[in-house]
Amino acid sequence: MDATRIPLVAMRDVSLAFGGVHAVDRASIDLYDGEVMALVGHNGAGKSTLVKILSGAYQRDDGAIAIRGEAATIANPRDAKKYGIETIYQTLALADNVDTAANLFLGRELRTRWGTLDDVAMEAQARRVMGRLNPHFERFKDPVRALSGGQRQSVAIARAILFNAQILIMDEPTAALGPQETAQVGELIRKLKADGLGIFLISHDIHDVFDLADRICVMKNGRVVGTASTADVTKDDVLGMIILGKCPPAAVPGPGAMAVA
């Protein structure tokens, strides 16, 4: 990485506690444009919480976030979207009782000049964006609850790419998908990376991570164990970081790294 490049996202010493539980403890992470940064760790390590701070779902207790070098105030999901941050949540965050277009535009509906919902325009755009992801998808009028798991995931992904995201957060995007759909998501990630987006990828699938990510950041018990380029470490190194907190020489250690004797 060119040291003079300004990171797209720089989170410094971010902390968040829920009561006595330190969900995130002095975590620092950065993301450059055109790269995929994978965030891995065991369950409860704080990965989802950290990215939810970035996406505005949670408010941090401490620390600073900078977007493109400038200090950013992200108090709610709307603020995050203004910075070009789009999120695909682990739970998908879809309203099951309304249709695809309604979900894609939730909170950002298109309106006619009389102020009413422009359902027709929204459906047209929905067809276009869903066509990029899933060309055979036709059930635009059905409520989202009637769609398959893979189709619902496509809707969640489509929502994120519809609004020209510059920073994309993907929390377990392939958890509910079969091999073919997982490959499609992989292709999409590569394409978006080529378009210059910065992508945070949370995944439990270590193979996917090494396949798609440029850098990898391991968290354990709310703290960052270390950050490394995927080219410089092996899968075993990463497993060691996740399970033991043992930081290999090629990785930059964080506050959570095991103290070297």
Binding site: N97, L106, G107, E109, P143, Q180
Partner: protein, 434 residues
């Protein structure tokens, strides 16, 4: 990004029955059709059982007026239930607002601007609506911003507003009400007459046709699949026929002889030997209910507010993450409910020509039942305004029919309660199948 390996999926057109084909072409909602069918069945059954008394212009006209207050409140209750809340206080709120409006026009305003002032009804209604909005806002604030469950807050409201209704006049009934205000309750003067009813009917027909044409034009513009032309003409034709039939029924109900005589004397018209036929036309409370229904349907389906109501009902967390101000939306839903309770209250006291503190007792249960029978899921997220209004008519038809048959009041309650449970059970079965 088209994967080369994915085979083109051919959808083989299955051999569907003519009914299924018809439903698909017209895009009519089967559940709504089922409800209309049930309503017609009930009407025909009562007509036969009562020896031809039910399906008469007089009975149907009275039925429409009796359904109006519950139908009006049911439109708001749909939105409340869709957001996964409930409002148990609207009956008591109706009683309290009715008492306030009664006292305002019978005692307060006459002292300020004199008796029979032309503006009395406007001021009274305005005060009632404003107070309804305020009470709804109070309950909505406590529910949305203080986080107390709506069941508890509105249960408290049920007790508080009923007590407040008594407190307005220490239990004294207020009567009579202002002459113009009374028109909102129906009756011979509270209807718009034959000519205006036809005008309203024709406007409604034009609206149906225009809306079909507009939706077809929109679909063409974006190259979406169109309904077959036959289906569009069928829908337009049936819609207009139903509207005009309803107007004809309203116009077939004549004024009682006493009112005709008084009218003829007041306007110096010579009364012919076999009497003068002055049609009632559409009742004013029914017009108000239809207006409210149209406005609420528009609000629910064509505005951002309506979209957020349904999204919150479907997944409140998703709505929050999408940036929707969920608490403000919920507060507005309860404010709307208060407003509608005021409208229903005005109609109720106008019909009675008196304000009593018992007005609206247990109305919330009828309203909730109407909404649920009309397809609103008690779990939230699903429900239509039109369905709720149909549910109100269905419930009122049941009660009306039973009164006509001379069924005892306790037995009426048993029947209505049983029908409610059966209706929701049928709805659950339907949803599981579809």
């Amino acid at each position: 990004m088209t994967p080369a390996t994915m085979p083109a999926r051919h959808v083989r057109p299955g051999r569907s029955s003519p009914l299924a084909g018809f439903l698909k072409a017209t895009e009519l909602d089967t559940r709504m059709l089922g409800m209309v069918g049930a309503l017609l069945l009930i009407w025909i059954a009562f007509h036969l059982l009562s020896g031809g008394l039910f399906l008469t212009p007089r009975n149907l006209w009275n039925l429409s007026v009796q359904s109006a207050p519950v139908a009006i409140m049911a439109t708001g209750m749909v939105l409340v239930i869709v957001t996964r809340n409930i409002d148990l206080s609207i009956g008591s709120m109706l009683g309290f607002l009715g008492m306030v409006m009664g006292v305002t026009q019978a005692e307060l305003l006459p002292r300020l601007i004199g008796f029979d002032h032309p503006a009395t009804w406007v001021l009274t209604l305005a005060i009632g609506l404003a107070l309804g909005l305020l009470l709804g806002a109070l309950q909505g604030f406590v529910i949305a911003y203080l986080g107390i469950p709506s069941f508890i807050v509105t249960l408290g409201g049920l007790l508080v507003w009923r007590g407040a209704a008594w407190w307005v006049t220490s239990g004294r009934t207020v009567a009579p009400l202002d002459g113009t205000f009374r028109l909102m309750g129906g009756g011979p003067e509270g209807a718009i007459g034959a000519a205006w009813s036809w005008v309203v009917g024709l406007i409604a027909c034009a609206a149906v046709v225009l809306s079909l044409m507009n939706s077809r034009a929109q679909r063409k513009k974006f190259h979406f699949p169109l309904r077959p032309m036959v289906a569009e003409i069928f829908l337009g034709g049936v819609g207009c026929a139903l509207i005009l039939a309803a107007v004809a029924i309203a116009n077939a109900y004549p004024w009682p002889a006493g009112s005709v005589r008084r009218y003829a004397e007041a306007n110096h018209i010579a009364l012919p030997a076999d009497g003068l036929f002055i049609a009632h036309g559409i009742a004013i409370p029914v017009l108000i209910a239809i207006g409210v229904g149209v406005a609420m349907t528009f609000l629910a389906t064509r505005t951002r507010f309506g979209r957020y109501v349904y999204a919150i009902g479907g997944n409140p967390e998703a709505a929050e993450l999408a940036g929707v101000n969920t608490r403000w939306v919920i507060m507005k839903v309860f404010m709307l409910m208060g407003l509608l309770a005021a409208v229903a209250g005005a109609i109720s006291i106008a019909r009675l020509n008196a304000a009593t503190n018992a007005e609206g007792t247990l109305a919330e249960l009828l309203v909730i039942a109407a909404a649920v029978i009309g397809g609103t899921s008690p779990l939230g997220g699903i429900g239509t305004v039109a369905g709720a209004m149909l549910g109100a008519v269905l419930m009122q038809s049941l009660q009306s029919g039973m009164v006509l048959l001379g069924v005892d009041t306790p037995l009426q309650s048993i029947v209505v309660g049983a029908v409610l449970v059966v209706a929701v059970w049928l709805d659950t079965v339907y949803r599981r199948r579809v």
